[in-house]
């Protein structure tokens, strides 16, 4: 019984066995970290410090001060990072990353958001995924740094569910849907051969991941490598982020669908995700409210019909992290976020597919 309990509830995040430290040290000495930053004065010092405090020492930490007006560059330099500043704002996160990529000479390149901190052993755990020469990118487990507001709580549940269930299954079949842009490591030669991060969509990390698959490379998800971004804590930031993500997904689908069809498993993951998102948006935003208004208010219960499906993976992880109370109290926020998410996806679908108007302005929203 104890063995079963240990198997089920041992913290998944700390379950992966670490490879020998010496081998990772060698890899880290050939690693450049790129942090694109636009007006990130409040968070950039913490990000740089968390990189300086890693269990392995990296070759370079570059902060791209994308023409900030709040002293981001000076703060990053004082924290110990090398700062590059373009002559004008590059307009996108990808643009800022590409600006630094030109100067990268190391074998590996890591991308981290300016509002993200890492667990002390995150790089040590993530880098070994690239020991397999077929692997072009690897990403880690994402958890919100703060879980206070309604939006952060909703995101906390969403991440626990997605990273404990969906992403694990995707990784088993060697096909994570996306190597998250907030914390990923890349093989520099493959990244540079791809032309860096593309600015043609609003989700440059998804674009890059799908391009890698189509070129025959592999991508890994490393459960034990933890990062903590600051998630949108209010309506304004959340709507900007979800607008970018929803439009980005549809743009990537439109751009890559032919190529994705050639990649086994990825094609199923991508198309199922698209069908699921479309049905969910129409059902939650249009059909269910109509049933509630015109037939019976009891239909509101259907909003909670998949509660068990959400709660199980969330509690599996929350129990082992001793965050059961936090997870349970955050569940209502998840349903609010999900409904809002449906609105944003429907808007993106109508704008991108029906009206054929592509979102091209990158609005920062954490």
């Amino acid at each position: 019984m104890t063995k079963i309990k240990k198997l089920l509830f041992t913290d998944l995040l700390h379950n992966n066995q670490k490879p020998p430290l010496w081998s990772v040290r060698d890899m880290a000495s050939d690693l450049t970290i790129i942090i694109p930053a636009f007006n990130e004065a409040k968070s950039i010092a913490d990000t740089v410090k968390s990189l300086k405090n890693q269990t392995v020492k990296v070759a370079r930490i570059i902060v791209v001060d994308d023409f900030s007006s709040d002293g981001t560059g000076e703060i990053a330099r004082a924290a110990g990072a090398e700062v590059l500043r373009p002559e004008a704002n590059t307009g996108t996160k990808a643009g800022a990353q590409n600006f630094a990529l030109k100067s990268v000479t190391t074998k590996f390149t890591m991308a981290i958001d300016a509002d993200t901190i890492l667990a002390p052993d995150a790089i040590e755990r993530l880098l070994p995924a690239l020991q397999d020469p077929k692997v072009a990118a690897a990403c880690g487990f994402v958890l919100p740094r703060y879980v206070r507001t309604l939006w952060e709580r909703g995101r906390y549940i969403e991440y626990l569910f997605a990273f404990v269930f969906f992403k694990q299954v995707q990784d088993y079949y060697e096909c994570p849907l996306i190597s998250s842009g907030c914390f990923s490591v890349y093989r520099s030669s493959v990244l540079q051969a791809n032309g860096g991060w593309s600015t043609r969509t609003m989700a440059e990390d998804m674009d890059l991941t799908w391009s890698f698959y189509q070129a025959g490379h592999k991508v890994r998800f490393v459960t034990g490598a933890l990062c903590y971004p600051i998630e949108p804590n209010n309506y304004t930031f959340m709507s900007k982020q979800l607008r970018r993500w929803s439009h980005g997904f549809i743009q990537n689908f439109k751009f890559h669908w032919r190529g994705v069809l050639r990649v086994p498993y990825l094609r199923s993951v991508v198309i199922i995700a698209m069908i699921d998102a479309v049905i969910a948006s129409i059902f939650n935003i249009l059909l269910l409210p109509a049933l509630i208004i015109f037939v019976s208010p009891l239909f509101a219960i259907i909003y909670l019909a998949d509660l068990p499906a959400v709660m199980v993976p969330v509690l599996f992880q929350a129990v082992s992290r001793k965050e059961t109370g936090l997870a349970i109290s955050s569940i209502p926020a998840y349903f609010v976020l999900r409904t809002f998410n449906g609105f944003m996806f429907l808007e993106a679908l109508i704008t991108e597919v029906v009206l054929r108007r592509t979102l091209a302005t990158y609005e920062k929203g954490h």
Binding site: S268, I272, I275, V295, R338
Partner: protein, 120 residues
Amino acid sequence: MNAGLPSAGIGVTFYLLATVAMPFFEIWRLFKRESGRLGWRFILRQLSIATNIILGISLANLFFDIVAPRYIGTNRSFTIFGQVAKLAHISNILIMPAILIAVLAVIEVASLIHVRSRTR
């Protein structure tokens, strides 16, 4: 759901089926003398999550089907709701997996046609 994308259930069904298929894949790998990267411990954990999800959904369905009508009564709106809930129950068990399998089959056929048209 994938983070940032809404989900209606077809995705969960897909990942449940993919989890149930893991042991068979692992045995196939053993048969081919390949070593699975994540191993049986990982598979058992994911299977236990999947089993509990199925159990949770079944309990919710049971609540809608048997328990709720006894306590809420049999007024008209609940009867309609009960019928829809039953439909949802059948949908979870039969329709959703059937749709999923049909979608997966269409995807595979589409990929075959696409690959053939490119090689011509």
